[in-house]
């Protein structure tokens, strides 16, 4: 472009590349330059001191030696195959659902392939440092299984597209099966619910509480807007009482008061009591989130449904709730993420979930004083799980918003990737 174009308005700056970007965003004025230099220096200092600690001072053997304990806790070693089997089951169903949901699009664009490659590499590196070759082999096998079942799911999905709406039920069955497998309810010696520890317990309590608190929360939200005074007042009292209590109090009550109140001989598992406590707590907050969504649906929607002759049940389930829930996905997922992190409070009522297991391991004189390494590792696991959840929620949002955009294909065809999200 050497010719000078004699035009009145200057063409927009089209220089690209990292340097131009940095100049525009980081060094646009002397103040920004100063700020950039100061923050870069600070970041470098933090990073360097962290790395020098991580590679020279830190003794990662506390994490390496106890890697299995963090993940599956005191689950009997000879029964570990059950965990692998249920993991395989979940992974296979995950791959299938992915395939079914993505039946119309290509499974792997370039980004997907890069992601998969990164995942495989990180499995190799992380497990290579921490676990035995068998676990690495099985983990890579699981990755292959995901891809394989995804392709299978795509094929099935193209033949039977209505399968997508059955997926939630399918997942419920999968979860129940995986749970039965882990507990040994189908085959082999049983493992007591209270004997589950480590990340396994964290995931179990979180998943069960999330799944249970969602319908309860929705019912409470509807109850709070109900026209029947008894239901409305009961819902309000429940929500306000639970929201007025700290979670720790509820967990302590579940673990201390419940056994005193129940007749002797009736001893619900401690894990079960904790799950009930978490569910009760989370349901109240969820109800308020959902209520926000319900209020955001214009009155006209319900009135229009009524005009079409729909009864109140149909109006709620088909018209109001779907719109309400869609509007509050981010807050609901936020609630689920905080519920997931709240499971770490179980450590103080004596349940050895991930954090409790970390504390038990730290009490081993062999690893005395290694708390930074262990807590960093545990924090990383929490971070990983939470970011997966928020990533999934963004995907879900985009997916649910897709039909709206599809109305006008002209707008969507040349739209750059990644419009939604938030």
């Amino acid at each position: 472009m050497t010719t000078i174009l004699p035009q009145s308005s200057a063409p927009p700056v089209t220089t690209v590349g990292p340097w131009a970007w940095a100049k525009k965003n980081l060094f646009s004025s002397w103040l920004n330059t100063l700020l950039t230099i100061i923050s870069a220096a600070f970041l470098a200092w933090v990073l360097i001191s962290f790395l020098s600690w991580a590679f020279t001072e830190a003794q990662w053997n506390a994490v390496r030696d106890n890697f299995r304990l963090f993940l599956v806790g005191r689950y009997p070693v000879q029964l570990l195959w059950r965990i692998w089997a249920s993991l395989g089951l979940i992974v296979a169903v995950g791959g299938l659902s992915w395939g079914v949901l993505a039946r119309t699009s290509r499974l792997f664009d370039r980004r997907g392939l890069v992601m998969l490659g990164i995942l495989a590499a990180s499995i190799l590196i992380v497990l290579g440092l921490l676990a035995d070759p068998t676990s690495i082999a099985i983990s890579l096998g699981l990755l292959v299984l995901v891809v394989g079942t995804a392709f299978l799911g795509q094929q099935i999905g193209q033949v039977k597209p209505q399968l997508g709406s059955w997926l939630p039920l399918f997942w419920l069955l999968t979860f129940l099966l995986a749970y039965a497998l882990v507990r040994g309810l189908i085959i082999g010696p049983q493992v007591k619910l209270d004997d589950l520890t480590g990340l396994l317990l964290t995931l179990l309590t979180a998943i069960v509480s999330i799944v249970l608190s969602f319908p309860i929360g929705v019912l409470l939200a509807l109850g709070r807007r109900s026209e029947l005074p008894v239901i409305r007042w009961l819902s309000i009292v429940y929500i306000e009482v639970i929201r007025g209590l700290p979670l720790v109090t509820i967990l302590f009550a579940a673990s201390l008061l419940v056994p005193l109140v129940l007749p002797s001989g009736m001893r619900p598992d401690r894990v079960l009591r904790a799950i009930v406590g978490l569910t009760m707590f989370s349901a109240a907050y969820l109800a308020e989130n959902v209520r926000g969504g319900l209020q955001s649906v214009p009155r006209g929607q319900a009135e229009a449904a009524k005009a079409l002759g729909m009864n109140p049940l149909l109006t709620t389930t088909l018209i109001v709730l779907p719109q309400a829930l869609k509007a509050v996905i981010p807050t609901i997922v936020g609630q689920f993420i905080s519920l997931f992190k709240d499971t770490s409070l179980l450590a103080i009522i004596g349940l050895a979930e991930l954090l409790g297991m970390g504390q038990s391991v730290l009490a081993n004189p062999q690893y005395n004083g290694r708390s930074s390494e262990v807590f960093l590792f545990i924090g990383l696991i929490y971070f990983l799980c939470c970011s997966i959840m928020s990533w999934a929620s963004r995907r879900l949002e985009r997916q649910l918003n897709a039909p709206k955009r599809a109305v006008d294909p002209a707008l969507t065809t040349n739209r750059p990737d990644g419009g939604g999200g938030g």
């Binding site: 030696d65 106890n66 299995r68 304990l69 806790g73 005191r74 689950y75 070693v77 007591k192 209270d194 004997d195 309000i236 009292v237 306000e240 009482v241 007025g244 302590f252 009550a253 673990s255 201390l256 008061l257 056994p259 005193l260 109140v261 007749p263 002797s264 001893r267 401690r270 103080i348 009522i349 004596g350 349940l351 050895a352 409790g356 297991m357 504390q359 038990s360 391991v361 730290l362 009490a363 081993n364 004189p365 062999q366 005395n368 004083g369 708390s371």
Partner: protein, 350 residues
């Protein structure tokens, strides 16, 4: 509405407390002292012991890297299981927090509480616990630098002392120093790790906690040899197993298993040399191992219960050495046998 809710809340809480009190009253009354209701029978028919432990205390109970519980408290749980079932693995461990331990015991969720619990008059009487003999005499001590030249508590006059907040440790420190009229500056921490790193950086001249913890922590400081735990203690912390009141058959069983480990050490019977004692002519040894008399079966245990305990777990000295002495190089001090000037003393087995 707010008024309504608080009224309702108050009613619910009152009701809950009332019900809770009523049912604790029930269970203590039901406990009774008759043989059929004893925890001993419950445990025997269940085929395993449920033992309440801390689960997170170095030297006393923790999970080792094979996933097994380990520690001094854990070993006493195993000793009881060995006595009853000839199998030290027949124990279910329950991690208990400091707050829930007594409720868990009162509600029958656990059979015996071996969770570094200090024997106090209040717990023994008002709380309805029955304490077995002390298995570890702990006490609050002081960790100082060797360079400071501090030899005793008086040497800490005017110094700053790192202490964990909200514990009896803080209370003991203030009480003792006020009594001795020694001025000091407390430096309070919420977190144990923060406390010891502050101490290592010289933020305070001494750190205080139970001696067992100080000794364990001293080893993790950058240069352990630069630090010393003072011999002087400023509080008494006798730690031992506890059971429910009004169940003397079960309390006796726990008590005599513990005493048995003391007696075995006194007689020099260890896990390794047990076989040599099998044919001993010493009547004391014969009675302890159940070769003579009916000491075991009289209390509802197998007659050779102590032989089983020694075979699987060992005597007191071995338990101490394995969990405390070896890993932390903590000298036995008051936990030495009475014959060596300590407090470990068992009444005669006859």
């Amino acid at each position: 509405m707010r008024k309504w809710i608080s009224l309702l809340l108050a009613t619910i809480l009152t009701a809950a407390v009332a019900v809770a009190c009523a049912s604790t009253g029930d269970s203590t009354a039901q406990g009774g002292d008759n043989n059929a209701n004893s925890t001993l029978n419950t445990v025997t028919s269940r085929g395993s012991l449920i033992c309440g432990v801390n689960g997170q205390l170095p030297g006393f109970s923790f999970v080792d890297n094979t996933g097994e519980y380990s520690g001094m408290d854990v070993d006493f749980c195993r000793a009881i299981a060995a006595a009853l079932f000839d199998d030290p693995t027949k124990v279910e461990f329950r991690n208990l927090s400091a707050q829930e331990r007594f409720t868990a015991l009162a509600a029958g969720e656990i059979d015996v509480l071996i969770r570094n619990t200090t024997w106090t008059i209040n717990r023994d009487t008002a709380l309805g616990l029955e304490f077995a003999p002390t298995t570890f005499f702990d006490g609050q001590g002081m960790l100082v630098t060797t360079a400071s030249g501090i030899r005793d508590v008086k040497g800490l006059s005017g110094k700053s002392i790192c202490v964990q907040s909200g514990t009896t440790t803080e209370q003991n420190l203030t009480d003792r120093f006020r009594k001795l009229n020694i001025p000091f500056t407390p430096v309070v921490f919420d977190d144990e790790d923060a406390l010891y790193s502050a101490f290592a950086q010289g933020r305070c001249q001494a750190a205080t906690s139970d001696r067992s913890q100080l000794t364990a922590r001293r080893k993790t400081l950058p240069n352990p040899d630069n630090y010393v735990v003072l011999d002087e203690v400023i509080s008494k912390e006798p730690l031992g197993p506890a059971t429910r009141n009004n169940d003397s058959r079960w309390a006796d069983a726990v008590k005599w298993v513990v005493f048995g480990t003391f007696q075995a050490e006194e007689l020099g019977i260890t896990k390794d040399n047990l076989a040599q004692f099998e044919n001993s002519n010493d009547p004391e040894v014969k009675r302890l191992l159940g070769k003579e008399g009916t000491l075991g079966s009289d209390m509802g245990l197998p007659n050779d219960f102590m032989a089983r305990v020694i075979k699987h777990v060992g005597n007191y000295g071995e338990i101490y050495e394995r969990n405390i002495g070896g890993p932390f190089q903590l000298e036995r001090g008051p936990n030495e046998l009475w014959t060596n000037g300590g407090l470990i003393y068992a009444p005669p087995f006859r």
